[in-house]
């Protein structure tokens, strides 16, 4: 009987599962959606704690552009958070760029952890233009100014002072004081 076979196989299988459970370790329960949502909110907050040179905006009403380079890890959460983020001084705009060639006028650029980029190419493309480079990968501070990390179940970030200074940006003391680590 087919079903009898399946039933027996199933019971064996269940028993196996229970055994393996007995040896199960605790699983770290980091909610990836939550991480992305909090990182999105930080990206928006950065716009209030960083000062860009006037020349980086075409006029008074020009939008502050937050760009995502490479595969977007945020999805709708960044746009939806931005839609209700009302504390920003300027209008915010969110843009996605597939690769470095597509880059346009941008103020905060989040470099996707999924993007395999050439550090030199990124440096060449962004150069000394006033862009806050934000990432979420080990070693990102070698290329950019801000890198998200996880510490004590909370989203934190490291800041590289020399990188944002070279880009001609000023970062408020407040943001520096809450950073996990500030490197030169």
């Amino acid at each position: 009987m087919q079903s009898a076979f399946f039933n027996r196989a199933f019971i064996l299988f269940l028993a196996g599962c229970v055994l393996s459970l007995a040896s199960a370790a605790c699983f770290a329960q980091v909610d990836e959606d939550r991480v992305r949502a909090i990182q999105s909110a930080f990206l928006l907050q950065f716009s209030n704690y960083v000062t860009w040179p006037e020349a980086s905006f075409s006029d008074e009403d020009a939008a502050l552009v937050i760009g995502i380079l490479g595969r977007d890890p945020f999805g709708s959460v960044l746009d939806n958070t931005a839609r209700t983020f009302t504390s920003s001084k300027r209008r915010l705009e969110i843009r996605r760029y597939k690769n470095l060639d597509d880059l346009g006028q941008v103020h905060i650029l989040f470099v996707s952890p999924f993007l395999e980029f050439d550090k030199k190419a990124l440096a060449a493309a962004v150069g000394a233009s006033p862009v806050l480079l934000v990432g979420n990968a080990p070693g990102f501070l070698e290329s950019g100014s801000v890198n998200f990390i996880l510490r004590d179940k909370k989203v934190r970030f490291d800041i590289n002072r020399s990188k944002y200074q070279r880009a001609g940006l000023r970062v408020s003391a407040k943001l520096l004081s809450v950073a996990n680590r500030v490197v030169e």
Binding site: Q2, S3, F6, N7, F10, F13, C17, S20, L21, S23, A24, A25, C26, F27, Q29, V30, D31, R34, V35, A37, I38, S40, A41, F42, L44, Q45, N48, Y49, A63, G67, R71, D72, G75, S76, V77, D79, N80, T81, A82, R83, T84, F85, T86, S87, R91, L92, E93, I94, R95, R96, Y97, K98, L150, K153, K154, V155, R156, K174, L175, V178
Partner: protein
């Protein structure tokens, strides 16, 4: 303003027939988009927000304190809503391994799900379950899929791609104050993911030991930096199930579906969504009937063509954290060529909503809408005259105007909230309908809350009650008289009124720890003017050729009152970080006061069939090495016996499902599982009174491979 000239768009050609026959067909898709854009350009909208993301309003310091660990799988919405709400997440759907919306709904406490055959289900809550459960409103992304022909949902036509579902919100009990007529006993709201959340390629293949095959593929990307899109296709071939009273099976079904969705964020505060879906397939069915010229019953089976499509556009604008507006339009067409009747339904709907919060914390949400439906039926000519379905008029057009206003007022420093609101609708048949509700919730502290509600809801008469002339030669009917067969001749009611429900609900929720959540809801509903079949004069003798038979004339009327009451309990327990259990129990009682019809006619036509007790337990386990084991057990009481014809009743049943999933890396999932294991040949529901036959649900073992970028 409203376009009358013919456009060359696809949708226009779909509606061309309707437009010609009906000067009232006032809206075309292109016209609606035009209208929507024009409104956007001409109007300076004020502001107000009720769907804001709370992270956006946090300060930098508050943000630093936000933990990334999800303490509870229970959403804030479920805790703070003064109604019996249950939310099925995408994770629940994926982990439980279900392959249809009806199977996903089995895990919702208090929702009765009975599979009739391989492609038909009877789904309801708080009573009245039947294939055409007429007091349950079902919506997909804000588009109603409730059919005005029978006032039910054709579940086989809603074979959506489950991977793209964000969540399913199920509200048991009345929702008429917000959603309008027919949301009497519950609302099922299926919401699909934002296109920005389905980036990259995705695909899945599911095969089972009964030759069911479900294939799906999708691709998402960014059209520009601001517009995300996805396109997808799905092919389902559901194996047939054995028929209850005969050999073989008749209910194999297949369906091909393609669709798209785009989501654009424009100028930060505007969001524009376009989506559309088209499907085509066949759903097998079988009908059994008596004919006057034959001693045995006839059985006719057919693969009924089922097709349709819809297009929807929604624009939402947030102008501040205190206000929001949205404008939505959609066009929908469905077509079915069933054994008994061919039905073609076109719907055009426009809906506006606006919400704002005043300085005192009072939140006002109001809206207005208009829906046009055009339903066309054609009787099948192959059936004998004694067994026929005719609708007069053949084509019915309806205009439905609606408006609603709802106020939410927090009090006692937010520990309590009072919600008062009403919907007002005007339809062509019963004219004005009011559906007010008063709800209150009180949080004793962070852990305990209690809510209560009083509501009035209505169900407006459906076409089968208004227009149908039916001759039913059914084997499920009362015994023969004088050696002659009895046939039912059903004619539409005159001056039918809506069915009215008065509902009283009381709920209690407790969350003693982050790991445990318990939810209880009790209800008492009283129904006035339930529509049923009322004997219209005496049985008489009729002769056709050589055959003589008795005819029992029945007319639709508001001839029945009834009451239901019951209790629904559910619990969600995170036993360990790697193990979560959810359980549900419900109890339902029904009493009817009928002015005449027999009990079997009542249960067939107006009352439905409901198990008195339901029980469910679902377990989600994370195993080491990227394995997950998920299992569920469902119990339903027996359905009441009709005791007529060769009805055999439906006994109580236990159903056991499991799914073992392996996630090597982030992109692949391999699942194997079983449905209804340990038992086979289970009848979940009876043949419906119109002769549609039921099948036996089998055990099934499946494997599924899915990929997501």
């Amino acid at each position: 303003m409203l376009p009358t000239k013919e456009n060359k768009t696809e949708i226009e050609s779909i509606n061309a027939v309707a437009a010609k026959q009906s000067p009232r067909m006032p809206l075309s898709f292109a016209g609606l988009i035009e209208l929507c854009l024009l409104a956007a350009l001409c109007t300076a909208w004020p502001i107000l927000g009720y769907a804001q993301s709370n992270l956006a309003i946090l300060s930098l310091d508050e943000l630093l304190e936000e933990e990334v660990v999800s303490a509870s799988k229970i959403s804030g919405k479920a805790i703070n809503t003064p109604a019996a709400i249950h939310i099925i997440s995408q994770e629940d759907i994926r982990r439980s391994g279900v392959n249809s919306v009806p199977d996903a709904l089995r895990a919702v406490p208090g929702v009765h799900v009975y599979q009739i055959d391989a492609n038909k289900w009877a789904i309801s809550s708080r009573g009245f379950a039947s294939r055409f459960a007429n007091k349950m409103l079902v919506m997909i992304d804000g588009r109603t899929v409730y059919s005005p022909l029978f006032s039910g949902v054709y579940w086989d036509a809603q074979d959506i791609r489950l991977e793209d579902v964000e969540r399913i919100e199920v509200i048991r009990g009345p929702g008429g104050a917000l959603w309008g007529a027919n949301a009497v006993n519950g609302v099922i709201n299926i919401l699909t993911k934002d296109a920005a959340d389905t980036q990259g390629p995705s695909a899945s293949v599911e095969l089972d030991n009964r030759d069911t095959a479900i294939l799906s593929a999708g691709y998402g990307g960014w059209l520009s930096g601001r517009t995300a899109y996805r396109v997808y296709g799905k092919f389902t071939d559901r194996a047939g199930l054995p028929a209850v009273f005969a050999d073989g099976s008749f209910d194999e079904a297949h369906q091909t579906r393609i669709g798209f969705r785009t989501d654009s964020t424009i100028h930060a505060h505007d969001k524009l969504t376009f989506q559309g879906e088209f499907y085509d397939g066949k759903s097998g069915q079988s009908v059994e009937y008596l004919a006057p010229d034959s001693a045995v019953s006839h059985i006719e089976s057919r693969d009924a063509p089922v097709s349709g499509g819809n297009l929807l556009a929604r624009w939402t604008r947030i102008l501040s954290s205190e206000s929001e507006m949205s404008l939505q339009v959609y066009l929908d067409q469905t077509e079915r060529e069933e054994l008994l009747i061919n039905d073609k339904l076109k719907t055009a709907d426009i809906d506006f909503q606006y919400g704002f919060t005043t300085d005192y914390g009072l939140n006002i949400l109001w809206g207005a809408g208009y829906r046009y439906t055009r339903d066309e039926t054609v009787a099948r000519e192959t059936l004998p005259d004694v067994f026929s379905y005719n609708f007069y008029p053949r084509i019915r057009e309806d205009d439905l105007y609606s408006g609603f206003v709802q106020g939410r007022m927090p009090f006692a420093e937010g520990r309590g909230e009072l919600t008062i609101g009403t919907k007002v609708e005007h339809n062509d048949v019963t004219h004005f309908e009011w559906q007010p509700s008063l709800r209150a919730i009180w949080h004793f502290n962070d852990a305990h809350s209690v809510w209560a509600a009083i509501s009035r809801s209505v169900r407006s008469p459906s076409r089968i009650e208004l227009d149908a002339n039916l001759n039913l030669g059914l084997i499920r009917l009362p015994p023969q008289l004088l050696g002659l067969r009895t046939f039912v001749r059903f004619s539409p009611g005159e001056s039918l009124e809506s069915e009215v429900e008065r509902s009283y609900e009381l709920g209690y929720r407790v969350r003693p720890t982050d790991a445990f959540y318990f939810d209880a809801a009790a209800f008492y509903n009283y129904y006035d003017d339930l529509i049923n079949g009322i004997p219209d004069g005496d049985v008489f003798l009729e002769e056709t050729g050589d055959s003589r038979f008795l005819v029992l004339p029945i007319t639709a009327g508001n001839g029945m009152n009834g009451e239901t009451y019951g209790l629904e309990l559910s619990a969600n327990w995170s036993v360990k970080e790697w193990w979560r259990l959810t359980g549900g129990f419900s109890w339902l009682e029904y009493n009817a006061l009928d002015m005449g019809a027999s009990r079997e006619a009542r249960q067939g036509f107006s009352e439905g069939q409901n198990a008195r007790h339901l029980f469910s337990l679902v377990s989600f386990m994370d195993l080491p090495n990227d394995f997950e084991l998920n299992a569920s057990v469902y119990y339903a009481d027996s359905l009441p016996e009709l005791g007529a014809g060769n009805d055999v009743g439906v006994g109580s049943k236990v159903r056991f499902d499991f799914s073992l999933q392996y996630h090597p890396g982030n992109n692949w999932i391999l699942a194997i599982g079983g449905r209804n294991v340990f038992r086979s040949d289970v009848r979940e529901f009876k043949d419906t009174m119109d002769g549609i036959r039921a099948s036996e649900v089998q055990e099934m073992f499946y494997s599924k491979l899915s990929y997501r970028f």
